[in-house]
């Protein structure tokens, strides 16, 4: 089937089999930040924005994204690098494999809720699994980023 997807701001027309998954389609377009971690729709590593909403690209048919906007980490590199530096500063991840998914979903959280509480952060990012860490480094990185981005008063609702 012929599909037309706006990928990272560019319209891309291509042929796609009916059962081609969006993850495989974006990777075929060179977006290698999008990876498979689990194959059970659980790990969050394949997160992309579909019409601005974070979704698991491993569980979306490419044909269903026809006519829609898809954004991967490649499309928001600046924003991703800005936030990612705070995660790196904490040495939060050992292997870094889960990082692109975490960065995408954290950015989705900040867009939806720029002033999240600790509980809201944990709830929003619950679908991003990291097998190296206990998430504490990531939480420190997120708090530091929000403090830097929005000022100290921002995190005062933490209690």
């Amino acid at each position: 089937m012929l599909i037309n997807i706006n990928l990272n701001g560019k319209n891309v027309r291509s042929e796609a089999d009916p059962d081609l998954l969006l993850i495989d389609w974006v990777r075929a377009q060179g977006c290698y930040s999008v990876k498979r971690g689990c194959e059970t729709s659980n790990c969050g590593l394949c997160t992309v924005f579909l019409e601005d909403k974070p979704v698991l690209s491993c569980s979306v048919l490419a044909v269903r994204a026809d006519g829609k906007r898809v954004v991967t980490l490649e499309g928001i590199q600046e924003e991703g690098a800005e936030f990612g530096a705070f995660i790196a500063d904490q040495g939060a991840e050992q292997c870094g494999f889960c990082n692109p998914g975490l960065v995408m979903n954290a950015l989705a959280l900040f867009r939806e809720n720029p002033n999240p509480s600790e509980e809201e952060i944990r709830e929003y990012l619950a679908g991003n699994l990291c097998r190296c860490s206990g998430y504490e480094g990531q939480m420190r990185g997120i708090r530091a980023y929000l403090e830097w981005k929005y000022g100290k008063s921002h995190m005062e609702n933490e209690g």
């Binding site: 009916p18 059962d19 729709s41 659980n42 997160t47 679908g127």
Partner: protein, 292 residues
Amino acid sequence: MITIRNYIKATSLEQAWQLNQQRGSRIVGGMLWLKMGTGNVQTAIDLSDLSLDRIEETEEEFRIGCMVSLRQLEQHPGLAVYTGGAMKEALRHIVGVQFRNLATVGGSIFGRYGFSDVLTMFLVMDSYVELYAGGIVPLREFSQRGYDRDVLVRMIVKKEPARFVYSSVRNARTDFPVLTCGAACLENQETAYPEDQEGACLENQNAVCLTGRYRFSIGARPGKAILTEDQERILTGEVTEEKAAAFGRFAAGRVPTGSNLRGSAEYRSHLVEVLCTRAAIKLGGQQNADQY
């Protein structure tokens, strides 16, 4: 992973229904569960172009299109107010935001999955399933039916005056639940149970459902969610901790449970007792203090 030969975005419900009558056709909801299987799908039918991704709220009811995502349900202000936050509580532990942006209410309800928080929550409300050919069917009846080739168009939730609480137990965050429990305290006994539905609410068809003020829906037993009610009128009057505990024991004795890798039948029955007791206490008056 499944293989799909043809993919059709239906342009009408009639077309979707016709296509779905053929063997090998499957309606694709969020595709989360479908994707976990194997086998061939001759024609995948997509309902995304039929404007069924909307929640309409009127004075009397919510009309929830089958393609509404679990995240939409979770964030809907009207449902949040009506259920006192129970809808969000039922959904927020399901995997993650990215998953809930895809998973649909139609897929969750039509599947009638044992593990379903969604079925547990809808069952405890006065919910109906609108089928394209089969018309409007109470969910408590639909949940007991076998699979057929009809098209689930939308869910209808009547705004009966009620308060709700919801809780679930998981071995690990985002995992399938070991047990789910939705509970309702009905403000108006007269409308509590349509008489023609008596007896349909328990798997044990010999059980008689009496009209009562409280309704409990227990899922992930690990079988699919079923309703149990306060037939013995244990919870009448002021709900004390003793009454709540007595009801918990009553429910644990009535709700059938089984074992799987997440928990034994014995453990689940214990959870039935604990979750029902807590729900009764919350509905009996402590809800506001806890919630606000």
